[in-house]
């Protein structure tokens, strides 16, 4: 069993598991942090951005000044943002049989895999994952395509040149493999390869293994996966949460008794408690708005935003913010808000029960109804006429490199009354803000990551007790900035195996058994003999039939009637021509009793020697040697067949035959 690790990002995993005869890709997350190296894509021409000075080498050489721009001491690539893809060279991705998707954040690289690698398998995901994943991809494509950029920088990627660049460009990994965003056509084609599955549904892969999605409690439709054969079980835990938010709670019990547990997608901010962060979010929001400032919340169009809106629903009245408009701007805002209300079966129990009342499960429906929350596909159109300040704007993209958020950053960045509150944990807020410096607006970092923290993981591991744990290397040591925090790492016995990007891991676990079925008529014919209490043996002659990784013992075929021969045959000729079977022997020979028996039968002068593997019984008079070992007995005598047979019969007396 091998694990090919194609992504270095622990929360955006992409691994390939070779198990039995199958090749299974576990998630295909897209590392978008690469976009932080690029200049933002403004919706309208930004004089500030377009007038940034070009970057030149220390010696004054300015050949890169068209590609690289400098802003407040940082250097950015002036080009369409590019993404860091999973490794494509480590394994031939056309051999991947299936791709299992855990949640909508972990499928963003799907079009790159399905459309450009010769992949011909199936993708499995739950319905909300696909629908919301589609929204995220659609938003991403829309954000990038609606502001076409003529220029495409590639010179800087030259390895010799990259070495000369300042950090972080200098340290960026695999820049040559960075790709521009896919198109909507590719998205549609990729999504068409997805087969929808439901929680606990068992999916047979070529008869070899069975895969099952389980609720992981992190997002709508998010799943962990069980990959099991008859005798082996691998659990894949990715992006799970034990907090009571909107999705169905995590199914922990089904993860028990795993041979291997692959653990990814833990919280990215283990030191921040989501509840505290929500409180912080609300306080800062209220403080800003009360002072007449605007609040900008860069966010994804689905996920935490539902919880934030729910909190605000409860909070705004108490904070006296009922008159403050909340705007949600995204090309997919409407679909996201409406989708969330229809996936009732994927929601937590509380929200599910609301559906029967009938009430919308999420309170944002009421916010929309009362006009407190308004949503728009983009800045243009209705929004510009409805827009009034102070207000709160939720919009993407959290990287601040594309989407409507870029416009608001440019618009509000100059006033210290305004605040930008970062809630998505995927991007470093300082790096996200770098191209907007100098910035007067207040910046608050309230990352809300509901995924498992290390305390929860250690409880989980204690409960489900896997034999081996495999995880990204980042989880096996405390974060570099907090090296004393031993609690911020996975602590389990035996220690977790770790992997890093472009590494192939041989999992420490050997398959020992295979299940073979016996046809009923064949089973009927068996005559089992009990050799130990509870253990019976029987000999069987059969044909092993293997198809679709299933093995069946069938009765041996009768020999075909010879054609054109005599019509009658003698009975003896009917017996198939097979060798007379020698009986099988079992048991062990107790040496002392064996010697006594020999003495009884007239052998004298018997000497017993102990060897490493058993005993040698020496019949000195007869010049004969009986070598008794665990699984064999040899009688060595000089051409005295009678003696050998006599001795053999004495040996056989101690053994069982069947």
């Amino acid at each position: 069993m091998k694990l090919y690790c194609l992504s270095g990002h622990p929360t955006l995993p992409c691994n390939v598991l070779k198990f039995k005869s199958t090749t299974i890709m576990l998630d295909c997350g897209l590392d978008m942090t690469s976009t932080l190296n690029f200049l933002p894509l403004p919706l309208v021409q930004s004089p500030r951005l377009s007038n940034l000075p070009g970057w030149s080498l220390k010696d004054g050489n300015a050949f890169l000044d068209k590609e690289l721009k400098e802003c407040s001491g940082h250097v950015f690539v002036d080009s369409v943002p590019e993404f860091c893809l999973p490794e494509t060279e480590l394994i031939d991705l056309s051999t991947v049989d299936v791709i299992l998707i855990s949640n909508y954040h972990c499928m963003m690289a799907l079009p790159y895999i399905t459309e450009h690698t010769g992949f011909s398998g199936t993708v499995y995901a739950t319905e909300p994952t696909v629908q919301i994943g589609r929204l995220l991809m659609e938003e991403l494509v829309n954000f990038i395509e609606r502001v076409p950029k003529a220029q495409s920088a590639s010179l800087w990627k030259n390895k010799d040149i990259q070495r000369l660049l300042p950090s972080p460009l200098k340290d960026a990994v695999e820049v040559s493999t960075w790709r521009r965003c896919y198109t909507m056509q590719e998205v549609n084609s990729a999504l068409s390869k997805i087969q929808l599955v439901g929680y606990s549904q068992k999916i047979e892969l070529f008869g070899a293994v069975q895969v099952t999605p389980l609720s992981s409690g992190y997002a709508l439709g998010s799943s962990n996966w069980i990959i099991q054969s008859h005798y082996e079980k691998v659990s894949y835990v990715s992006g799970s949460s034990l907090l009571t938010t909107h999705p169905q709670p995590m199914d922990q019990a089904s993860l028990k008794n795993s041979d291997v547990l692959i653990l990814t997608g833990l919280t990215q901010i283990p030191t921040a408690n989501p509840d505290g962060m929500v409180g912080e979010f609300c306080s800062n929001l209220a403080l800003t708005v009360r002072n007449g400032g605007n609040v900008l919340v860069p966010c994804y169009p689905s996920g935490v935003i539902y919880d934030l809106l729910e909190c605000l629903y409860q909070y705004i009245d108490s904070a006296g913010l009922s008159n403050i408009p909340f705007y949600f701007i995204s090309p997919v805002a409407n679909s996201s808000l409406e989708f969330s209300q229809i996936f009732a079966e994927w929601l937590c129990h509380n929200k599910q029960t609301k559906v029967y009342l009938p009430e919308p499960p999420f309170p944002h429906a009421e916010l929309i109804q009362t006009n407190k929350l308004k949503h728009y596909p983009s800045l243009h159109g209705d929004f510009s006429s409805d827009f009034r300040q102070p207000c709160v704007v939720f919009t993407g993209h959290p990287s601040l490199r594309f989407g409507d958020v870029v416009h608001f950053m440019e618009l509000w960045g100059k006033s210290s009354l305004n605040t930008v509150i970062f809630t998505e944990p995927d991007f470093s807020y300082l790096e996200a803000l770098a191209p907007y410096q100098p910035l007067a607006m207040k910046c608050i970092y309230c990352p809300i990551d509901t995924r498992l923290n290390f305390i929860q993981v250690s409880k989980l591991l204690k409960e489900v007790q896997p034999l081996h744990v495999v995880c990204p290397e980042q989880y096996t040591q405390p974060p570099p900035a907090q090296s004393h925090r031993m609690d911020l790492m996975i602590d389990c016995q035996p220690p977790a195996m770790s992997y890093r990007r472009a590494e192939v891991l041989a999992l420490p676990f050997k398959r020992r058994y295979e299940k073979i079925e016996i046809m009923p008529e064949l089973a009927d014919a068996l005559v089992p003999m009990e050799i130990k209490p509870g253990i019976s043996l029987a000999t069987v002659s059969a044909v092993l039939h293997t198809k679709d990784n299933k093995h069946v013992l069938q009765p041996p075929p009768r020999p075909a009637q010879p054609t054109g021969g005599k019509k009658r045959k003698r009975a003896s000729e009917d017996i198939p021509d097979c060798k007379v079977l020698k009986p099988l022997l079992s048991g062990s020979i107790p040496v002392e009793q064996f010697v006594q028996t020999l003495e009884k039968h007239g052998f004298s002068d018997i000497k017993v020697e102990d060897t490493a593997k058993g005993h040698i019984v020496l019949l000195q008079e007869a010049e004969t040697l009986i070598q008794i070992e665990e699984d064999s007995t040899h009688i060595i005598c000089d051409n005295d067949e009678m003696l050998r047979v006599r001795l053999r019969d004495l040996v056989l007396k101690f053994l069982q035959k069947f």
Binding site: L243, T244, T245, T271, A272, N273, P274, D275, G276, M277, V278, G279, E280, C282, S283, N284, A286, L287, R290, N291, D307, E310, C311, Q314, Y315, D317, S318, A319, G320, C446, I448, T450, H484, R485, M486, D487
Partner: protein, 909 residues
């Protein structure tokens, strides 16, 4: 994940507008209904007993209430109260019937509190007079006791009651002899009694038996009796009783018997030889010795508890002999591992050490204490160490050892985090022994428990005059700060132990709370500058942290306030020192954010903190400047409209304080010509008249009272109009506390009007010094104009007793002030006075609809003098059930519940 949903907060007990009040503050109706037609039910002649239920004694009681009342009648009622010391004839008449009921197993006594009351009554009677006479006068009592001896199916309650009653009666030696003659005592308390029967299975009976003996054992005859009937052995076995109450009472009885049998201090020179002790005492001591040698911990615990009680209660010379005899056995316990019954052992040693009867130095107590300190685990040794440090005269070495034990866990923390234990040297030797470290590190529960206890012990020790000197202020400050850093995740320990400790304590709310409390207490001392800086830094970290729980945050606010208070003052100036001002600059943005928290507890604590700060430094330039530069005043003003009533109440108080100090920000725009101050008064009046919850309204009244007292600018402009408006609104409030606060405001106004400095006790003002300034009528005019009297008279008949009491006090005060003034003509007979009195009578009767109209000072004075205010005050001072609390009523009640008194049934329908 909605904010606040992760934690369920306990609401304050007294939520709502007085309908659910904390115990002790519940308004009690005053028995004020006077006149022959008045009754407590408010419906003359109607008795409220629900249909279908058996009649109870209420009718009689109600009639009794109707008879008693305010004035002389009430005095009579009180004289006939439960305090009557002899049995009156009415009771004697009822007693036989009651005894018959008690003796009748078919008449179960449903309510055993009656039996307790009955017993109390008998105790009162026997304490005042002769039990023998009582028995002879009421033969039914002996009959009842004799009846208990018959084999029958008696209720265990009645049996226990009889045993206890026998004990109470036999406490007097002559009565004891009288009962002995009839062989009643051995039959009741000996093998022949319940002891050998099925009734003994009931813990109530066993408890009654013990309590009976406890009451009985008062004289030498009783001792003989106990010895003869073998009671002591039974008591020994009852020490192991399954019922904790019985077991505990058995232990106490043993102590009592031991004390009784030993020679008292007045009984001549006591024999200090244990061998000369009476047999009974020897038996008990022998039993204790045997128990101390036992291997089973419960037995040892019992023995230790008996000794603890003995040394705690009796300080006669023989206790010293007892200790000398038993101390080797007690010391022997320390040789066992683990030390058995450690908590009881600690209690005993402290009890011995505190006993004035023992000369600690001569009996080796200090050595035993020192030995115990070193043998017990850190958790068990903590309370002992604290106890030793609280002792007045104790060898210095032992104190040092005890203090070291107490400090050990913190020394371990400092060591684990590799910090210098400080220059004072007190923690130097205590680098955290391995045992403490072993206790700290293995489990979170043990670690947290030990640290919390240690902090609590040190906090208790700090304010004591006998606290260790020198006090290691700096290391303790360091330890508290380190603990807070470990809990908050900001500590960066380098050692393995430190990292482990960090993982154990991270986010631990219990330790955070304890450490913050301790840190707050430490503010009474000083510390090196850099440590104080660390203290402020860690406090700020907690105030800032989004993960601080509301309770932790509240404690952080309290500790911050205490540290700000203790920050060094600039000579000659009360303002905050420059460091504190710098801190304040960091603090105010945090406070601002906290005032916007989605969690109401946080907003509330933030406001309370603001109020405290403003009260202390509101007049100081540095503070004013920092506060006015922040958004805090504006946010506070917005919180007046918070959806949570407690927050509104705190906001009202905070705004009142800010406004008093002139710290309310005037609105920026010219569209508010009146300014903020004016509108605040209006806003508070609006809250007072419209807020649905009581807390904000109470807060408004307090602010208004304070404003009036301080002659706040808004109030001083037109005080009369202000007072009139407030009183009008307050008089109609449903919350009694608001009305009571209204009276407080009225009193302040009255004092200001009559020109007297405020006295703490209005009633204490003697008429001689009460000379109003200027003509009395003129002085009373403003009071009449603001309708103060109507408000006060109405309050006099308020259904809530505290309001009526307050009003009574106020009117008495006024009457005292005006008493000496003869300038006003009495107009008692004028028709106006009569109409006022008529109105008051109607109010008293419950009809408060009619207003009094404009009153003239003369009329007021006349009415004031005609009212029996003293009588009313006396009646109000009584508890609400005083009129019902007579033995006769009790007996009637008991008889009524079993239906013997059937004559009242007709009353009930």
């Amino acid at each position: 994940m909605p904010a606040g949903s992760s934690g369920t907060y306990h609401r304050r007990l007294c939520e709502g507008d007085g309908s659910v009040l904390p115990v002790g503050r519940r308004p009690v109706s005053a028995p004020l209904r006077v006149g022959p037609q008045g009754s407590r039910s408010g419906l003359p002649g109607t008795l409220r007993v629900s249909r279908g239920r058996r009649p109870c004694a209420r009718p009689r009681r109600t009639r009794q209430v109707a008879r008693s009342g305010v004035g002389p009648a009430a005095a009579e009622g009180r004289a006939a109260g439960i305090s009557s010391l002899t049995m009156d004839p009415e009771c004697s008449q009822l007693l036989p019937a009651l005894c018959a009921v008690l003796a009748d197993p078919r008449q179960p006594m449903a309510d055993d509190t009656c039996l307790e009351k009955l017993l109390d009554w008998f105790k009162t009677i026997t304490e005042a007079g002769s039990s023998l006479l009582l028995l002879q006068g009421n033969p039914c009592l002996v009959e009842l006791l004799c009846h208990m001896l018959k084999p029958q199916d008696l209720s265990s309650r009645v049996l226990a009651f009889s045993l206890r009653l026998t004990g109470v009666l036999a406490a007097q030696e002559d009565c004891f002899q009288y009962l002995q003659q009839g062989e009643l005592l051995p039959k009741l308390f000996g093998e022949a009694g319940p002891l050998g029967g099925a009734a003994w299975t009931s813990p109530t009976v066993r408890s009654g038996w013990i309590q009976g003996l406890r009451s009985l054992a008062q004289h030498p005859s009783a001792l003989h009796f106990l010895a003869d009937c073998g009671a002591v052995d039974t008591i020994f076995s009852l020490q192991e009783d399954s019922s904790l109450f019985v077991a505990s009472a058995a232990g106490q009885l043993l102590v009592h018997i031991l004390g009784l049998s030993m020679p008292g201090p007045a009984g001549g020179p006591p024999s200090l030889q244990a061998g000369d002790w009476p047999a009974c005492a020897q038996k008990i001591v022998g039993h204790i010795e045997e128990s101390l040698r036992a291997t089973a911990t419960p037995q040892i615990t019992q023995a230790l508890n008996v000794l603890t009680t003995t040394f705690g209660h009796c300080h006669d010379p023989w206790t010293q002999v007892l200790w000398v005899r038993l101390s080797p056995l007690v010391a022997g316990l320390l040789e066992k591992d683990p030390v058995p019954a450690a908590h009881s052992l600690v209690d005993l040693l402290l009890s011995v050490a505190r006993s004035p009867g023992l000369s600690s130095s001569s009996c080796g107590l200090w050595e035993t204490l020192a030995q115990t300190l070193s043998h017990l685990s850190p958790t068990q040794a903590g309370p002992l160490a604290l106890g030793i440090l609280k002792l007045q005269d104790c060898p210095q070495a032992l104190r040092a050892q005890a203090f070291a034990v107490l400090l050990q866990p913190l020394a371990c923390v400092l060591k684990a985090t590799a910090q210098d234990p400080g220059p004072s040297g007190v923690l130097d030797g205590i680098v955290g022994d391995s045992m403490t470290a072993d206790m700290l590190l293995p489990s979170k529960a043990a670690c947290v428990g030990l640290l919390c206890r240690t902090l609590a012990h040190l906090e208790l020790l700090l304010p004591l005059p006998q606290r260790p000197c020198p006090w290691p202020q700096a290391p303790l400050l360091g330890a508290a700060v380190t603990l807070l850093q470990l809990c908050g995740g900001s500590a960066r320990p380098t050692s393995d132990a430190g990292r482990h400790l960090c993982a154990l304590l991270l986010g631990c709310v219990r330790v955070q709370r304890a450490a913050l409390d301790f840190l707050g207490t430490l503010s009474e001392g000083t510390g090196p500058r850099e440590l104080v800086t660390q203290v402020f830094a860690v406090l700020l970290e907690y105030l800032r942290s989004p993960d601080s729980s509301p309770t932790v945050l509240k404690k952080a606010f309290q500790a911050t306030f205490r540290w700000l208070l203790s920050s060094p003052k600039t000579p000659g100036c009360w303002d905050l020192d420059p460091h504190a001002l710098l801190f304040l600059r960091d603090l105010l943005p945090v406070l601002q954010k906290r005032l916007c928290s989605p969690c109401w507890e946080v907003r509330d604590s933030g406001l309370e903190f603001l109020t405290q700060m403003t009260r202390h430094w509101g007049g100081q330039a540095g503070f004013r400047h920092a506060l006015l530069a922040s958004e805090v005043p504006k946010l506070t003003e917005q919180l007046l409209r918070d959806p949570e009533s407690y927050v509104r109440a705190s906001a009202v108080t905070a705004m009142g304080q800010l406004s008093s100090q002139g710290l309310c920000v005037p609105p920026a725009g010219p569209e508010h010509p009146g300014g903020q101050q004016k509108s605040l008064l209006a806003e508070l009046l609006h809250i007072l008249s419209t807020d649905s919850e009581g807390f904000p309204r109470r807060a408004v009244m307090q602010v208004f009272t304070q404003w009036l007292r301080d002659s706040h600018a808004d109030v001083a402009g037109d005080t009369e109009q202000f007072v009139a408006g407030v009183l009008q609104v307050a008089s109609q409030d449903l919350d009694w506390e608001v009305r009571a606060q209204g009276l407080e405001l009225a009193l302040v106004f009255l004092e200001q009007t009559l020109g007297q400095p405020r006295s703490h006790c209005p009633c204490a003002v003697t008429p001689a010094v009460a000379a109003p300034v200027g003509p009395l009528a003129q002085a009373l005019q403003p009071l009449c104009r603001v309708r103060l009297f109507e408000f006060a008279f109405r309050a006099l008949f308020d259904c809530d007793r505290p309001v009526a009491q307050k009003s009574c006090d106020l009117l008495l005060f006024l009457r005292a002030k005006t008493a000496s003034s003869g300038s006003l003509q009495e107009s008692r007979s004028s028709p106006h006075v009569a109409s006022v009195e008529a109105a008051l009578q109607r109010w008293q009767a419950g009809d408060q609809a009619q207003p009094l109209g404009d009153l003239e000072p003369e009329v007021v004075l006349a009415v004031l003098r005609s009212l029996d205010l003293e009588g009313l005050q006396g009646a109000l001072a009584e508890s609400s059930d005083h009129v019902e609390k007579s033995p006769q009523s009790l007996l009637q009640d008991m008889l009524a519940t079993v239906g013997v008194l059937g004559g009242n049934e007709a009353d009930c329908y």
